[in-house]
């Protein structure tokens, strides 16, 4: 038995030695995402963004080889994300934590990043508080208040609506969206005539839509998570004869994403939304991005993909600035105030909050040459998250 133990120890030592030596020239990124379960598609698209960036820019930066280790949380599981973050830091020795499909995952891993002093790049999770959980967290995706308050202000001013009914999913991001939208809409002189919070697991929207219709509102604000629900609620509007041409229906981007408008078809025409990225956004950079993305993955990128892509850009550029030093303090210092041109337009990292600053586009679903797409009709430039520092 003792011989076996010694042999095993020797083997282990032999196995770890080359890794330790190699680690000099490697920066490891631990990606924590919900690769399986209901949110699998989100994680897949973030990952596609990561893969495309690494394919275009190589896997070596500032003399360091980039190695990505992927871990699956299976869904919004804070405890699993925390355990995976610990494993990644302690056992795999990663230098950077990234990914985070959902807010609970980011919150779960935040403590680990804080204690281990590792840079954490939030590539999607959009609840405002995420970046406040540790000084090592930086976000490249979006915050819900950033989008929904912009939507509220726009609708009440340029959108020309004075009364609104709000319909949101009854969970963290939905409540964030509702609070933000109503606050901004009221501040701009509008009136909220009613609101409903719908269960997150909600297959049939007919009853909620009927409730909204009974009040005959001038406009409606919608927030539902991506997936099956955008098309389901869109069809429920159409079935009840609520035409976006007569009632202004404004939402965040998920509710009119590519799959949703495809499934809804013509009845989605006229739907308004406030969002930070769409594959149909017109710019040279985005055209190239969409083309490269399609060549690689045979589908269009979405805001998840652009989050993964920009997240990798931030990591690469930060490493260039630090000359390959991958400790949390150096990297976060390098990330603060970083500005670059993303496929979604000019974006920056707010040096005070480490949160994303970006344009919010107001879009309208239109038929362009037979295809139903979101077309930018207005934009609000350099929007910061409005909730940081607000009490």
């Amino acid at each position: 038995m003792r011989h076996m133990m010694t042999a095993a120890a020797a083997l282990l030592a032999a196995a770890t030695l080359p890794v330790a030596a190699q680690a000099q020239g490697t920066v490891k990124i631990g990606v924590i995402s919900a690769y399986s379960g209901q949110f699998a598609d989100t994680a897949v698209q973030i990952d596609n963004g990561i893969k495309l960036y690494m394919k275009q820019h190589g896997d070596t930066v500032a003399g360091k080889k980039i190695e990505v280790i992927r871990k699956d949380t299976g869904g919004p599981n804070a405890d699993v994300a925390k355990r995976l973050a610990q494993e990644l830091v302690v056992r795999d020795g990663v230098d950077i934590l990234a990914g985070f499909t959902l807010t609970p995952e980011a919150l779960g891993a935040a403590g680990v990043a804080d204690e281990a002093k590792k840079l954490l790049v939030d590539m999607n999770a959009a609840t405002a508080i995420v970046t406040e959980k540790s000084p090592y967290i930086v976000r490249v995706s979006l915050t819900l208040p950033q989008i929904s308050e912009t939507a509220g202000t726009w609708l009440a001013t340029k959108g020309g609506a004075k009364k609104v009914y709000t319909m949101v999913s009854d969970f963290g991001p939905g409540i964030d969206a509702e609070t933000g939208f109503q606050r901004a809409f009221k501040a701009a002189g509008g009136e909220v005539i009613g609101s409903v919070r719908m269960p997150v697991a909600n297959p049939d929207f007919s009853a909620f839509v009927q409730r909204a219709k009974d009040l005959n509102p001038e406009s409606i604000f919608v927030f539902v998570p991506g997936g099956a629900q955008p098309a389901a609620i869109g069809k429920a509007f159409a079935e009840r004869g609520m035409d976006p041409a007569k009632i202004k229906i404004i939402s965040t981007g998920e509710a009119v994403d590519e799959q949703a408008v495809k499934a809804m078809g013509d009845v989605s025409i006229g739907r308004l939304s406030a969002w930070h990225y769409d594959y149909n956004h017109k710019s040279k950079l985005n055209d190239d991005f969409v083309k490269a993305f399609n060549a690689e993955f045979k589908r269009n990128p979405d805001f998840f993909a652009v989050g993964g892509y920009d997240g990798m850009h931030l990591i690469y550029e930060a490493l260039k600035k630090t000359g390959g030093k991958a400790d949390g303090d150096s990297l976060i210092a390098a990330a603060k105030g970083m500005k670059w041109e993303s496929p979604r337009g000019p974006i920056a990292i707010d040096p005070d909050t480490r949160d994303i600053v970006q344009n919010v586009y107001i879009r309208k679903v239109e038929k362009v040459g037979g295809a139903i797409v979101n077309v930018d009709i207005d934009k609000v430039e350099n929007v910061k998250d409005p909730t940081h520092g607000r009490k």
Partner: protein, 287 residues
């Protein structure tokens, strides 16, 4: 003008019909054959993907894909029944649960592999879209169609089980298998056909569900909860029970969301608890 309660009833019944078509097969296999098939919604998902592939890639009209969804799901279930399930007919409930839940997980992974994790959009024909106005009520065309399908399926099933030779064989095989075999009934075949019928209906339900609730690989699990609620509230093995339970669950879901949105989707669980406390075997359950 009719008061909104009629609209709520109509929407609830239409949603209930969808649940009925999805769940009646499970009720039959569970009640008649004592087999716990938690992979039931995987067959529904197969039916859904059949419709999507036929409509998108081969440009079949929606109606033509419905029988195809039924047959493909039925065919797949025969293969699974012959190779895997029949070995476990006499096994414990736990063994059956472990096997079938495993199959459901596998089906999710297979669907994600072939069809990716994206939502599958389908383009319904124009005549199934939109709605009629009926004394101020809003009657969705697709929902009306669902009600028609639900009623037709119920009538056909009751006719088959109660009034045909095959139905008599099924009932005999369930009541006393040895006696049925002794009388020359091919019990294995009867069960296989029953099972295929149930899974085929699930496939049809999956195809019909896309327009209302969408389709992605998590379908096999998302609807399992609702289907199990309908089966347990209705009573195992009872077609009319499933029908009544599906209507009850559909109506209470829609009514709950309409009148008490704060309670939202929770109401159906309350209804389930209340029914099962009153009748532990379900509304029409025999044991």
């Amino acid at each position: 003008m009719l008061p909104p309660i009629f609209g709520v009833l109509f929407d609830g019944i239409a949603y209930g019909m969808l649940l009925f078509v999805l769940s009646v097969g499970l009720s039959v296999t569970l009640g008649l054959m004592n087999f716990v098939n938690l992979a039931h919604c995987a067959f529904a998902m197969l039916g859904g993907y059949t419709t999507v592939v036929l409509m998108q890639d081969l440009h079949w009209p929606f109606f033509a894909t419905l029988p195809a969804a039924f047959f493909i799901a039925a065919l797949a279930s025969i293969v699974v029944e012959r190779t895997l399930y029949r070995r476990l007919y006499r096994a414990s409930d736990l063994d059956q649960v472990l096997l079938t839940i495993g199959l459901a997980f596998i089906s999710v992974a297979i669907a994600a592999w072939f069809f990716t994790t994206q939502q599958q959009p389908v383009d319904m024909p124009a005549y199934l879209r939109g709605s009629y106005q009926f004394f101020g009520l809003n009657i969705g065309v697709y929902r009306l169609f669902l009600v028609a399908v639900g009623v037709a399926v119920t009538a056909m099933l009751i006719m088959t089980v109660e009034h045909t030779r095959f139905g008599a064989q099924v009932r005999a095989a369930v009541d006393n298998q040895r006696m049925a075999r002794g009388l020359g009934i091919d019990v294995d075949r009867t069960f296989a056909v029953t099972f295929a019928l149930g899974s085929g209906l699930a496939g049809l339900g999956g195809a019909l569900a896309i327009e209302i609730v969408g389709l992605d690989p998590s379908f096999a699990f998302t609807y399992l909860v609702y289907v199990l609620i309908v089966v347990s509230v209705g009573g195992l093995g009872s077609i009319l029970g499933s029908f009544a339970a599906a209507c009850l669950i559909g109506i209470s879901d829609v009514a709950g969301k309409y009148y008490l949105p704060e309670l939202g989707a929770f109401l159906i669980y309350l209804v389930m608890v209340a029914v099962l406390m009153w009748k532990p075997a379900g509304l029409f359950g025999r044991r």
